[in-house]
């Protein structure tokens, strides 16, 4: 019986190599960079699905987030790409790990039915998206072998956020929404007065 882990990672590695070669052969260095970032994104997501240990799943998300960040940078959106790495890896992933780090690993046997079902669902989804993309995108017109002009968009984004005729209202509304969420989280998490009622406390001491 082959080790499932080894089989999975072997297939994943071969797929990544194939992707890199395909990218290099179709679009040169730009294609290679894109293929690298894309395989990090999708490979991380696949690992996240495959791993039985929830913490390893969370770690594999790092590859996904970094891959998405690099994809943004490759497409010329440097601010969004770096914000993606800063916020998702530095903040959200650290919090996520903080949450799941103490959970025991779920090392029960992997059920072939579930793996097959997952693969079937995934295949159907990929086929549907690929069909849609193939039907709508005009491949011949795309400049696939060159990266966009490297240009910083931070200033435009900043102006757009505070300009009264652009996005200032959604920006401020999002800020208010986040503040409300923060206050609500603190309210739910803090100790209530009922935690300090003397009878309850004395009962706990007796028990």
């Amino acid at each position: 019986m082959l080790d499932q882990q080894k089989v999975f990672y072997g297939i994943l590695g071969l797929a990544v190599l194939a992707t890199l070669g395909w990218g290099m052969s179709t679009a040169g260095p730009a294609g290679l960079a894109f293929a690298g970032a894309a395989s990090f994104t999708i490979g991380g997501a696949l690992m996240c699905l495959w791993e039985r240990s929830i913490v390893r799943s969370a770690f594999s998300l790092m590859a996904t987030f970094c891959g998405v960040g690099v994809l943004f940078i490759l497409l010329g959106a440097d601010f969004v790409g770096m914000a993606q790495i800063l916020i998702y890896v530095g903040g959200i992933l650290a919090l996520l790990l903080f949450g799941v780090m103490l959970s025991p690993p779920d090392m029960t046997e992997r059920k072939l039915v579930r793996v097959g079902g997952g693969l079937l669902t995934m295949g159907l989804g990929v086929a549907w998206v690929a069909g849609k993309v193939a039907a709508t995108v005009k491949w011949a017109a795309l400049p696939i072998d060159q990266l966009p002009e490297p240009k910083s968009h931070a200033e435009e984004i900043g102006v757009a956020f505070i300009h009264p005729e652009q996005y200032v209202v959604p920006f401020e509304l999002a800020a208010v929404l986040l503040t409300v969420a923060l206050v609500a989280a603190v309210y739910i998490a803090r100790r209530k007065m009922s935690d300090f009622v003397p009878e309850v406390a004395s009962q706990q001491e007796n028990a």
């Binding site: 040169g28 260095p29 960079a33 690298g36 970032a37 990090f40 240990s53 913490v55 390893r56 770690f59 790092m62 590859a63 970094c66 891959g67 960040g69 690099v70 940078i73 490759l74 010329g76 440097d78 601010f79 770096m82 914000a83 790495i85 800063l86 890896v89 530095g90 903040g91 992933l93 650290a94 919090l95 790990l97 903080f98 780090m101 103490l102 990266l147 490297p150 910083s152 931070a154």
Partner: protein, 378 residues
């Protein structure tokens, strides 16, 4: 597996930015005919990253020696005196050889892949951050337009590496260390970023080279810290947050040796262990460089001003003077960090959280508001 994401991101960002640095110009003179145009940027990026790695590793070794000397003198000792001769200058080399020789232990219950990957991620991330760091007007590896954003993003990746090390060690001490690291970094990234907003408001740029060059007026003394009354408190807040961010005492809770053996480092030995220490010193150096650039004039000083007047703005000697200025400033910051470490006792974890959330964050917000008002009025 070791060629990790961070290096990819760093080189990609370097390629995306107009990275025609010194190495590029040197190489461009000697490239033979018929070489495809895309080879040169890739070779430039590889050589630049190699220089960064070599430079930062040697720097980190020097800082371990400096740390032992500073701590020794603070405690009325000499520190290392024998290895190499003059004040034990060869001590870090001896230490490095010893660490290379040591057995590479991996605990039986450890998650082997993650255990081996954690030092690589930590070190790769911090080296990636240095790529965006300019030393002088013409000495830079990549002139990243969003430099400070890139540096903060890369240095936040090291947190994940530390958490990975703590979790994969399969040890309670390590796990506690990793949890403290995660909690501490999430708490202190907020005041760190907010206190950096104050110089960013004054500078109006994310680019570290441009921010440095903006401080060259008043005979090289037009530092941001003198340009706005809220800058000095912001620099102190940044220093405290940087101490916590780099896990330095009094905020070295993740490796608190009197409570947690060695925290997330407990199960590491030999060269992997030394990778974490290299990261710590590199992170200190990075934070001090950022503080020098955004608060204390960057590579601008009266010496740089004189060199520029004497030899012209793009002369080699001007660049050398500028780079030495920046390095001296950041080493002063590092000595300050060591001084703090050997003077103050460690704070408790609840005190760490209190300082971060209840004091530093509101104070940093007040600084930002004040600085913005000052800039709007004057």
């Amino acid at each position: 597996m070791l060629s990790n994401i961070t290096t990819t991101a760093a080189t990609t960002a370097a390629a995306a930015a107009p990275s025609e640095n010194v190495v590029f110009h040197l190489l461009a003179e000697y490239v033979p005919e018929g070489v495809p145009g895309w080879i040169l940027p890739i070779v430039t990026a590889s050589i630049s990253v190699g220089i960064v790695i070599a430079l930062i590793s040697v720097m980190a070794m020097g800082f371990t020696w400096l740390e032992r000397k500073v701590s020794g003198h603070i405690q009325c000792r000499y520190g290392p005196m024998y290895a190499g001769g003059w004040h034990g200058w060869a001590q870090p080399i001896a230490d490095g050889v010893k660490l290379l020789m040591k057995e590479d232990l991996i605990p039986i219950g450890a998650d082997k892949a993650l255990f081996m990957m954690a030092p690589a991620i930590v070190l790769g991330a911090i080296f990636g951050a240095f790529v965006a760091m300019p030393l002088a007007p013409d000495f830079y590896f990549a002139d990243v337009n969003l430099g400070i954003f890139f540096i903060l993003g890369m240095s936040s990746l090291t947190t994940i590496g530390v958490v990975m090390a703590g979790w994969s060690s399969n040890s309670k001490w390590s796990l506690y260390g990793a949890m403290r690291e995660a909690a501490q970094v999430v708490a202190y990234e907020i005041p760190l970023g907010i206190s950096l907003l104050v110089p960013l408001i004054v500078a109006g740029t994310f680019n570290l080279r441009e921010a440095s060059e903006l401080q060259g007026d008043f005979y090289g003394m037009g530092w941001f810290v003198f340009k706005n009354p809220f800058m000095l408190p912001a620099s102190i807040l940044f220093f405290i947050a940087a101490l916590a961010e780099t896990k330095r005492a009094p905020f070295d809770l993740p490796e608190a040796e009197s409570e947690l053996v060695a925290g997330f480092l407990t199960e590491y030995s030999g060269i992997r262990w030394s990778f974490f220490f290299m990261e710590e010193y590199a992170a200190m150096y990075l934070m001090c460089l950022v503080a020098s650039v955004f608060f204390f004039g960057g590579f601008e000083s009266p010496f740089t001003y004189m060199a520029r007047e004497q030899f012209g703005p793009n002369a080699f000697i001007t660049n050398v003077v500028a780079a030495s200025t920046l390095i001296v400033k950041s080493i002063a910051g590092i000595v300050l960090m060591m001084w703090v470490r050997w003077t103050l006792p460690r704070v408790r974890i609840d005190q760490v959280m209190t300082i971060g959330y209840k004091y530093l964050t509101p104070l940093a917000l007040i600084c930002v508001l004040g600085a913005a008002c000052w800039e709007a009025i004057f």
